[in-house]
């Protein structure tokens, strides 16, 4: 294990031990938060009893759908936009200020338009992620060396072939960064929307457990979301490192 990895593990273990001590010592009362060992036991129960599996499955399916839509459309729009300087310059102010817009403010409007089903939650996750993907794709495409574009031309590649075989593969590390952002935003959008107003899903269950002081459900679900998000992002980061190492950039 590397020195950095040991330090990272020590920080997390130290934080958990501190929480454990504060909870067991009564500094944090157990209605506010149960001790981490209790959360671990409840987490294990959550996974073995399987009663919340439909909620978890529904939320994860919506996260995945929001992520895929934001990622694929973001790359397609980013790639198309790269060839149209004027349009890109026109949209630049929107991209620059997009994340200052509270997208969640539109959630009630989305419910009016699409009902209380999965649509508004996926839409919020998608809206949060897509601009990050577009901007990161544009950023990657800006860095494609001119000589690679010329190589594509002398190889008689069509614009689509150039994108698929030259420019987007060159941008792969940027596209993985875009994937990490889109995934994080999909989680935030879907779980957050479920939390605000929904009839099912992990966010809804967390909200329901919160209002009923059901810590045995709430904290394990929060832990599950944390773990899923961290595992998926770590896998993408690892892949990114492999790509960068191949290019001598690590």
């Amino acid at each position: 294990m590397s020195r950095v990895r040991i330090c990272q593990t020590a920080v997390i273990a130290g934080f958990v031990l501190l929480l454990e001590a504060l909870c067991v010592g009564g500094v944090i009362d157990k209605v506010t938060m149960p001790p981490p060992h209790r959360i671990a036991v409840d987490f294990f129960k959550l996974l073995t009893t399987k009663t919340l599996y439909p909620e978890i499955g529904k939320s994860m399916a919506n996260v995945l759908l929001a992520f895929v839509l934001a990622y694929v459309l973001g790359i397609v729009i980013g790639t198309a936009l790269h060839g149209y300087r004027t349009l890109r310059d026109t949209l630049d102010p929107l991209f620059a200020t997009y994340y200052a817009i509270p997208v969640f403010a539109f959630y009630p409007r989305c419910i009016v338009m699409f009902g209380l089903g999965d649509g508004p939650q996926v839409l919020i996750g998608f809206l949060l992620g897509i601009v990050a993907v577009i901007v990161t794709t544009l950023n990657g495409l800006d860095r494609v060396p001119n000589v690679l574009r010329k190589t594509a031309l002398v190889s008689r590649l069509t614009p689509l072939q150039t994108a698929l075989h030259v420019t987007l593969p060159f941008c792969a590390p940027y596209l993985l960064t875009a994937a990490k952002l889109a995934l994080a935003y999909a989680f935030i959008g879907v779980i957050g929307s479920e939390f605000i107003m929904a009839r099912s899903g992990m966010g809804y269950e967390i909200g329901f457990a919160y209002t009923n002081f059901d810590n045995a459900t709430m904290y394990p679900l929060i832990l599950l979301i944390l773990l899923l998000s961290v595992i998926m992002n770590s896998a993408l980061s690892r892949w990114e490192k492999v790509l960068l190492a191949r290019r001598g950039q690590q």
Partner: protein, 268 residues
Amino acid sequence: MPVPHVTLRGVTKVFPASAGGQGVHALGPIDVEIDKGEFFAIVGPSGCGKSTLLELIAGLLPVTEGHIEFEGRRIGHDIPDGVGVVFQEDACFPWLTVRDNVAFGLRDAAFDAKERARRVDAAIAMMGLREFADSYPAQLSGGMRQRVCIARTLVAQPRLILLDEPFGALDQQTRLLMGDEVLRLWRETGATVFLITHALDEAAMLADRIGVMSARPGKVIDVVQTGWPRDRDSRIVEREQFGAITSRLWKTLRDESMKTMGRMTTPA
């Protein structure tokens, strides 16, 4: 009378004015004929339009006036078939192994997988990269990466190879050795080679004929016949005639280079 392999007739390139600026007359008019299987080099001062000339022949840029023919067909807006280009900059695809980089040159070829693999392996072997076939470009030296680019160009068996200062980023020894490689490949493939270089000794060592370009707008102001045998290598630099050729090139180029630097010609 045989038709020249490449013909440039009154080729002129003017880059249009940008907002508030003036158009740039970069080249021409240029008239040159290159025979099939000939090794033709162009030397000239910085900024005289050497690379622009190469990009015009490759079909990467449109000519403003005049025309270019390759194998009797005019080069228009489309990139001509049978032309391979090696650029000065590193054009390896960093996400592909050496083998996949070279195979990229055969992407649209109508061979079966076995024939494709055979040709790729042959090109890799020809460039002395066999033991690096599964390496990524980042694991190779600058000279080896340039050899990968040459292999990728050669595997498609182009009839005209355009070299745009391909050894510009390499050290002197590697350049001489790469020059030997290029001469060997030129003999083996029988292709016509058009080399752009700023190095007079490189042009004198490699080419059958050398076109000397003026300062911008670049025109061919002299054509030097080297008279070297086809079977030659870098040891040709030891010959007395080599010195005479480079001296003649420099004599022609000196004033042009000074014009580029914005200085007055000083008497010898």
